[in-house]
């Protein structure tokens, strides 16, 4: 009889151990299997949500600052501005730069795409998409509204977006002309009309094509060098505080350019 009870006890312990281990292995296999099945399928094309990092082509140092391949044809207005701008990037970097970003004025579009350090988070919500570039954020309305007729210039402009097949097309106007088009000092006017086309190429890659239409600054519409972004898993937002670099102890700010009125 005693032996039987030992047997029963052993059986109970084995059963108990099974209860402990089974749910774990079950949970693990449940967790891994659908994930791999999902990887094989194409990512839903109409989803841009997540944190993205600009992917630099190998040996392409210019990608850090340039949005431009061939020099776009500037108007006389733009040439004058371009000559007055003293960028710290490009073929002739200046030590005494008057880059508005060094006064901690916000980067506007499309300049936000001209920095490899930039990490961008896209949040899709009903009726709008929010894009975070650190403290610079922009909202793209997807509720069918049009651009309002009487806008003052905005740091990030006024943006409306819609899906065209697998491409999210963003139309932006009323971008403040205080900041530059890129880090090389190319100017733009507040008549800049920017078209962005976001498309997911695969599971982890997104491509962005930019069309710049600014009749005051450029004699024809031109396309910037396409940007490629890679999806970052479990990314953490970076607290990029410009003042850490450009504001001194006595609170003096680097005086660069007139403000936006």
């Amino acid at each position: 009889m005693l032996k039987n009870f030992y047997c029963l006890l052993t059986l109970l312990i084995v059963l108990a151990l099974l209860f402990v281990t089974l749910p774990q292995s079950g949970a693990q296999s449940n967790k891994t299997q659908p994930a791999t099945a999902k990887d094989q399928n194409a990512v839903p094309p109409k989803n841009l949500s997540g944190t993205w990092a600009i992917s630099t082509p190998r040996n392409e140092a210019w990608y850090n600052y340039a949005l431009i391949g061939d020099e776009p044809p500037m108007t006389a207005w733009a040439l004058e501005k371009f000559k007055a701008n003293k960028p710290s990037f490009g073929p002739n970097p200046q030590e005494e730069s008057n880059d508005p970003s060094y006064s901690c004025l916000p980067n506007s579009v499309p300049r936000v795409y001209a920095a490899v350090q930039a990490s961008m988070q896209i949040v899709e919500l009903p009726g709008r998409v929010i894009m975070f570039f650190g403290r610079n954020l922009r909202q793209i309305y997807t509720d069918g509204r049009t651009h309002p007729p009487d806008l003052r210039p905005l740091w990030m402009g006024h943006s409306i977006g819609k899906w065209d097949g697998d491409t999210f097309v963003v139309d932006t106007i009323d971008i403040s002309d205080v900041n530059w088009l890129d880090r090389m000092g190319h100017p733009h006017s507040d008549r800049l009309h920017l078209i962005e086309r976001f498309r997911r190429v695969d599971d982890t890659t997104m491509q962005l094509n930019l069309t710049i239409d600014d009749p005051i600054a450029y004699t024809k519409t031109w396309d910037a060098t396409p940007r490629t972004f890679r999806l970052r898993q479990n990314a953490r937002a970076v607290e990029a505080i410009c003042e850490d670099m450009f504001v001194n102890e006595s609170f003096g700010i680097h005086p660069v350019l007139p403000s936006m009125k």
Binding site: M1, L2, F5, Y6, L8, L9, L12, I13, L15, A16, L17, F19, V20, L22, P23, Q24, A27, K31, S103, C104, L105, P106, V123, L125, I130, F132, G134, R135, N136, L137, R138, L154, W155, M156, V178, N234, R236, A237, E239, I241, E243, D244, V247, F251, I253, P255, L257, P258, S259, M260, K261
Partner: protein
Amino acid sequence: MRKHPMYAVLGVLLLFASFSIALAQMAEKSGTTEPQKTAPADLSGLWVVHPPASASAYSSFAFAKDVPPMTDWGEEKYKAAKPVFGTNKTMAKQSNDPVYGCFPPGLPRIYLHPKPIEIVQLPDEVIMMFEYDRIVRHIYIDGRPHDEFLDPPLWMGDSIGKWEGDTLVIDTIGFNDKTWLDRAGHPHSDALHVVERMRRLNHETLSDDITIEDPKAYTKPWTAQTRFQLRPDLALDWEGVCENEKLADRQ
């Protein structure tokens, strides 16, 4: 033979114990591996700070009527601060308030600036967008730990959160010591630990119970409370830039 009942009891106990361990592990697993599809509460919306009327005498610049108990280190820092509010107030021109240098206001001070706050709730994080100084807080609720490799430390700290019932408990550490806790110049060190319990009291009201723990600056933890009112009639204005306003003043 006399031992039989004891073995049976022992066996049954073991079985129960293993059951509860397994259940606990299952609960833990579902909590950490899969972000909750439906959060227990929805804090999203556009909010404006709305402290209770009983705090109206000081609510624009401090969380508490009385000065919290400071350490010697804290006292010294408090004396060096030249705020434009509170018992040590001075004129704006003489002030060394960090926000006058366009530096971020820090936490919980940011709640003393009455500008709209938009909360967006996602499965893995709660994002708080403060119109004041264009500050964005990302509060990760996906079970990740604090970032241990913060160098330099942060102006607004490193925030993680979890749901306790319908309350979002936000734990923030990793601060630098360059900001003030309020607009009256109360200091904090880099050991500051802020715990917030954020809960929707009703559809229109959000409450935030704040515990401030900083053994370098204060002799004991102290608490603060603030409330927010839902303002769907407002929209977030992200155009105000501190440096731009300073440059405009100069012209």
